[in-house]
Amino acid sequence: MDLKDLYRDVILDHNKTPRHRGTLPPPARVAQGHNPLCGDQLTVYALMDGDILKEVRFEGSGCAISVASASLMTEAVKGKSQAEIAHLFKAIHDLLTRADAPIPASLGKLAALSGVREFPARVKCASLCWHTLNQALAGADAPITTE
């Protein structure tokens, strides 16, 4: 296993310089994610315009995989409809968990996360932001965890 399969340049870049880091005031929806295994804490802010995710921000601390995944996610979902985001969620879930899954071209830069599936202990790091975004979009209040 080459570590560069996991820590690709795109990942390292987004870890070092995360995009859309910060908060959004109400009426943006907020959800908190927590990975009790490693202590990662993530908050996702989602401002909707009808069915479209108009603005998205995240803040929190975590490993390079979790920060880069959140940063890449915000780039990928901004301006998308809920249905498009749900479609992306399914694709990223397959990417992270199915060793044999082909990588759809539609994933774009998110495909950089494909190395994570070779490291089962780290899948939750990459998926936490997506579960948290889902929670924010669903408008539920309770913090979600990876456990």
């Binding site: 296993m1 570590l3 560069k4 996991l6 820590y7 390292l12 870890n15 070092k16 295994l37 490693c38 202590g39 990662d40 804490q41 601390s61 975590g62 490993c63 390079a64 995989i65 920060v67 490291f119 202990a121 780290r122 790091c125």
Partner: protein, 414 residues
Amino acid sequence: MSGLDGSTLAAAMGRLRSDFPVLQQNINGHPLVYLDNGASSQRPLAVIEAERHYASHLHSNVHRGVHSLSALATDAFEGARDNVRRFLNARSTREIIFTRGTTESINLVAQSYGRSRLGVGDEILITALEHHSNIVPWQMVCAATGATLKVAAINRRGELDLSSFKAALSAQTRLVATSHVSNALGSVLPVAEIVALAHAQGVPVLLDGAQAIPHLTIDVQALDCDFYAFSGHKLYGPDGIGVLYGRESLLEAMPPWQGGGDMILSVSFTGTTYNQLPYKFEAGTPHISGAIGLGVAIDYVSKIGLPAIAAWEQHLLEYATTQLSTIEGLTIIGTAADKASLVSFTVEGIHPHDLGTILDQSGIAIRTGHHCAMPVMQFFGLPATARASFAFYNTTDEIDQLVIAVQSAQRLFR
């Protein structure tokens, strides 16, 4: 081979390491460098063979049958108890209770001693260095009884603040429960002072010895502690077996915490007479092979000698501290004057979990995370640290490899 000092232990290292099958393998294409002994240490062949021998030749239930196998199993099981008694220098095997591990030992005291004696206004005093297993059982007892949990503070070096401890020890304190060695930082707590201060007010003391037992010579009579808890799997023994030492007069007065077989003398539907110590606290069929394996692990450690082990481990600690300190951006968390052989650290710009994954690719196993001591992490304002914890079978070469691997992680993340 008794009476080794650190340097003769080092000279015997090749032979000692060959006692451990786990260490003879490659992980991710590299010889395993196992630096996660604080989480669980590896077993020597003698322990593995003892468990195998038990399962192949001795297995039966203990304290029950008149047949030969049951007698053999009982002798081996009770022999292991006496090994533990000698290892801790307890007065009697009545004071040695087998449990599943440190966590269960602490829960036993919390549920039996705590629930039967505590009420509203009473206080339990712990420290800010505790593992979750010496926090949560007391929180549960406090919730059930109305007692209050008090916490003695630590300083920035990760040492117990004795003045805070003295201030927190009040006329309402009913029990002091503290770790002997901090699992997250390695700090050795001043348990002699703690016991003296508590006993001066008639307060019993429980010591969580999970991290101390493989490093320090434990003499419960010299320590004068009232309870001492530890796990077999951190002492080169099997997992799923642990010990609670308890002062006999306290154990006698405590109610059982679990009911079932082995802990009774007679049962009828109108009432039950409980068994004598230590069986009163051992309901159900115990982990017989685990206890036997632990007994053999104690023999193994005793043969090398804890003074020699401690001397070599202190050398490893000093070497690791010096070498890791040469790495720019690396900060050692926990700099107590008295430390056991573990180093908790952070590396600027690299989250501990990334470091753990990167080191693992070089065959180096360390622990990363909050180490089940989230309050300690909160005190230092950190979500997590990386922790390298050493056993007597570790070498300075392995520490060199750790240093090289951390530096290569820094290059990857530059």
